[in-house]
């Protein structure tokens, strides 16, 4: 896709939240291919989007294939679109665009009943006036199943969940954990093909959560239904899932098994989200093969693989599209803001501004063709960014000159915002250019707390010395807070030797455990 097309598409993009520092780069650039899923895939979502009435997009291009008997966990912070996604699977929300296949059948237009799914809600959603027995039997009654069959199934499920002696109670006579088990029972009894669970353990206390986690996993092993589980707790995701989907702001960040996600996080967000305590992140620079972390007297130097070096150019080339997409989006937003300002100015000054703007435009170079090299494209983008910045400056000075007129402050603020954004983008472009050309580029370097070895100062091995600021005792291990490479970080160590704050320690780091991420795109470099 040429830059011109990309620019146009960026201009048409649905407005989302204002630009954040970390890029909202889409996972896949292509948009419009939808083939029917493969045979062993039971649940499939292809390019699913969700846009609400007020033009707020909650889910962007969600793709997921779930095989039978898998336990998939959608995990992410609040507002990342996981509940929306699961509700779309359930049929409680309309799918704005994209396809949903359940059991090989196209399921976008099926009602929840026809999809043969069972759902467990965060607030249990038990029918308050019915007994536990009736609650569990309700779904079967609605499907006109015979009485004795219902009875058998309900009692079976009750036994599995140890609810047999509560069958006659009403929900308000049950504790939270029991209510959740009834909700699970309601799902099991139906022998549905897919189980959907929307943060079922969030309303329980910590201890109960731990035991219920194990119960759900056991249940999954016993019954073996395909399960989609939504949570914001990464511990639940790690312990229960066979496949994890990490979401942020409506976009999928990474899909993989818990081990993959833990050991090879695809971007900075996944790295810091998964794992408790969070991964420690430093700023670093990469030049050739050398990575330098920290300044002053404590500096970490290590070398990356040759592979990384050679792959680096490839990596930056592959990610160029994404970065440019964002840059052009930013430019088009700036253009719009400037146009709006120009429209609102009074006639006299408007003419002046317009002529200045058109002068800037006329000096613009031709957009690069399809076959242009990355450097040329970067150069073109750089020029365009600078031109856009000039336009903003012109507009700002014009607004400054004009006397009071309505909306002046609002327009000025808008243009200042986009101007700042343009500045950010320019910075990132420079960094990216540096990365691409092999020059010095900025990195984010990460190391998990568990992957550092803490010893005494007398240890003969090579390491970094530091002083403990806070030592948190958990029982069998410590979380030590100390300063390293200019930042306060956390490390975990065994509690065999007691630690107190102020104690001097030595940290031994194995550079093979270090994760390296590009600062601009936040993606992992490996």
């Amino acid at each position: 896709m040429s830059d011109e097309e990309m620019k146009n598409e960026a201009a048409e993009t649905v407005e989302v939240a204002p630009e954040t520092e970390q890029g909202n780069t889409p996972v896949e650039a292509t948009r419009k291919d939808s083939a029917a899923p493969a045979d062993d895939v039971y649940l499939s979502l292809r390019h699913v989007d969700k846009v609400y009435d007020n033009n707020v997009q909650a889910v962007f291009d969600f793709n997921l294939d779930v095989k039978k008997h898998e336990f998939v966990v959608l995990v992410g912070p609040s507002g990342c679109g996981k509940s929306t996604t699961i509700r779309m699977i359930a049929g409680l929300e309309n799918i704005s665009s994209g396809d949903l296949y359940i059991g090989g059948k196209y399921a976008n237009d099926l009602s929840p009943k026809e999809r043969d799914i069972a759902m467990v809600f965060q607030n249990y959603a038990l029918y308050p006036q019915m007994s536990v027995y009736d609650n569990m039997a309700f779904g079967l009654k609605m499907r006109h199943i015979a009485h004795d069959v219902i009875d058998r199934k309900v009692r079976e499920a009750a036994e599995i969940l140890e609810l047999t002696k509560y069958l006659d109670r009403k929900p308000r006579q049950l504790s939270g954990g029991q209510k959740q088990r009834v909700a699970l029972g309601r799902a099991i009894v139906r022998s549905a093909k897919i189980f959907l669970m929307d943060e079922p353990l969030s309303n329980l206390d910590a201890k109960l959560r731990v035991s219920m986690r194990a119960e759900i996993v056991k249940l999954h092993k016993t019954i073996g239904a395909t399960t989609i589980y939504v949570t914001h707790d990464q511990t639940e995701a790690m312990t229960m899932a066979t496949k994890i989907v990490v979401l942020k702001d409506g976009r999928v960040q990474q899909i993989g098994s818990p081990e993959e996600i833990y050991s090879h996080p695809a971007n900075l967000f996944v790295a810091t989200f998964i794992g408790s305590p969070a991964m420690n992140i430093w700023d670093g620079t990469l030049e050739g093969r050398d990575v330098t972390v920290g300044t002053g007297n404590q500096v970490l130097n290590f070398q990356v693989h040759d592979d990384i070096v050679s792959k680096r150019r490839e990596f930056y080339q592959n990610t160029l599209d994404r970065v440019l997409f964002e840059i052009y989006a930013s430019i088009s937003r700036a253009d719009k803001a400037v146009e709006k300002a120009a429209k609102n100015l009074l006639n006299l000054t408007r003419g002046q501004l317009k002529s200045n703007l058109s002068e800037v435009d006329s000096h613009q170079a031709e957009p690069p063709s399809e076959e242009a090299t990355p450097e040329e494209r970067i150069e073109a983008a750089r020029l365009r960014l600078k031109a856009a910045q000039k336009k903003c400056e012109l507009a700002l000075s014009q607004l400054d000159l004009s006397n009071w007129f309505p909306k002046r402050r609002e327009l000025t603020k808008n243009i200042e915002l986009v101007y700042a954004a343009l500045g950010n983008q320019l910075q990132r472009l420079e960094q990216f250019d540096a990365g691409l050309s092999g020059g010095r580029c900025d990195l984010a370097v990460g190391l998990r707390p568990e992957e550092m070895e803490i010893t005494t100062v007398d240890d003969p091995r090579e390491g970094f010395e530091s002083e403990v600021v806070v030592a948190e005792l958990l029982g069998a291990s410590y979380y030590l807070h100390f300063n390293l490479f200019g930042k306060e970080i956390v490390a975990e160590c065994h509690a065999s030797t007691p630690m107190v704050s102020g104690q001097r320690i030595k940290v031994i780091i194995d550079s093979s455990h270090i994760h390296v991420f590009d600062k601009v795109t936040q993606l992992r470099i490996d």
């Binding site: 359930a90 409680l92 009943k113 607030n123 959603a125 038990l126 029918y127 779904g139 609605m142 139906r190």
Partner: protein, 344 residues
């Protein structure tokens, strides 16, 4: 739990002690009369007195009475008083213009009640009215509430439109309908004629008149209950609807198993209040038909009023009122028992 925080707890950190000190100082500056609910936390007990094993704080009781006394006195004079006096009159031959010459006649009034054919008719009419208007109005209100809840466009207009009849006084709507239902030149009959039908004697047929009044009452009152139901419906937990949708319940099943149980308390409240006000109906018959074609829209309240203030027979009307109260109480209590029996 103690309300007083001047008991400092050692070892809970500096902040708590300081706060406790501050409170103690502040409390000492207050006037001596303080409204502590449970006393000083064990320092010394407030004076109390006992009635059948339950302790009552003397001070609390006094304050309680101070607040409640005006209301109790007014209630006694204007509510209990008339009831007692009416009870007395029911056993006398009191006449409105000669109340001081009331003579005791024992159960003569009550015997007369049972022999009076008009009372029988009035009671039948009233019960018919109640039995027909309550379900009609209730389910109209519920239906309208469900409808209005679902429609998003023009929602405010619909709510207002349905509520307007409630804002009009009963007297005005009675006259309005009297005009509409006039035998010869009312709008309704004109429409029927235009469609080729036979005009109906709305206000002069013995059976139809009561039905017309029932319909008009339901039409007027439904808007009010509709508002109550709308707010009750809004409080139903959405996830229950979703769960039932996933369980495979269609709209009817969702209504029966999720909506109805959720608005059950509101429903029974509305039912009881509607019932009681339906028993008291008097304005519509009084204005529209004055008791109707041959007493066929005479209601108990109207008859009591007629006998008491128009015919000046206070003794007799008190007797009728007493018997009617029993009937109303019986019906209401039975219904409440029925409804509460289901709750367990």
């Amino acid at each position: 739990m103690d309300n007083t925080a001047d008991v400092t707890r050692e070892g809970e950190g500096e902040r708590l002690t300081r706060y406790g000190e501050f409170l103690k100082r502040a409390k000492s500056k207050l006037p001596r009369m303080h409204l502590s609910l449970k006393g000083d936390g064990g320092k010394h007990r407030q004076p109390y007195f006992k009635i059948i094993r339950t302790e009552y704080s003397r001070e609390e009781t006094l304050w309680g009475w101070i607040f409640v006394l005006p209301c109790v006195i007014l209630g006694a004079i204007f509510v209990l008083g008339p009831i007692v006096i009416s009870l007395y009159y029911a056993f006398t031959d009191a006449n409105l213009l000669r109340l001081d010459e009331a003579q005791w006649v024992g159960f003569e009034n009550f015997k007369r009640v049972f022999e009076d054919s008009t009372v029988g008719l009035a009671l039948t009419n009233t019960l018919t009215f109640v039995v027909e208007v309550v379900p009609l109005q209730l389910f109209t209100a519920l239906g309208l509430a469900l409808l209005v809840n679902k429609i998003t466009h023009g929602n405010t207009f619909l709510r207002w439109a349905f509520f307007v009849p409630v804002m009009l006084s009963l007297a005005i709507t009675s006259m309005l309908w009297m005009n509409l239902l006039n035998d010869s030149d009312g709008l309704i009959n004109a429409l029927i004629l235009a469609c080729g039908g036979i005009p109906v004697n709305w206000m002069t047929d013995e059976v139809i008149t009561l039905q017309a009044i029932i319909f008009i009452s339901a039409w007027q009152g439904a808007g009010y209950q509709m508002m109550i139901f709308i707010s009750a419906l809004k409080n139903v937990d959405h996830s229950l609807y979703e769960a039932s949708e996933i369980d495979g319940a269609g709209s009817w099943n969702r209504f029966v198993h999720v909506t109805l149980p959720a608005i059950r308390p509101t429903f029974s409240f509305v039912l009881i209040t509607m019932l009681i006000s339906a028993f008291r109906i008097v304005t519509q018959p009084m204005i529209m038909t004055q008791g109707g074609p041959n007493n066929h829209t005479m209601t108990m309240s109207y008859y009591i009023y007629l006998q008491g203030t128009q015919y000046r027979d206070i003794g007799y009307s008190s007797a009728i009122a007493l018997i009617f109260t029993f009937v109303m109480a019986a019906v209401s209590l039975t219904l409440r028992r029925l409804f509460e029996g289901k709750k367990d």
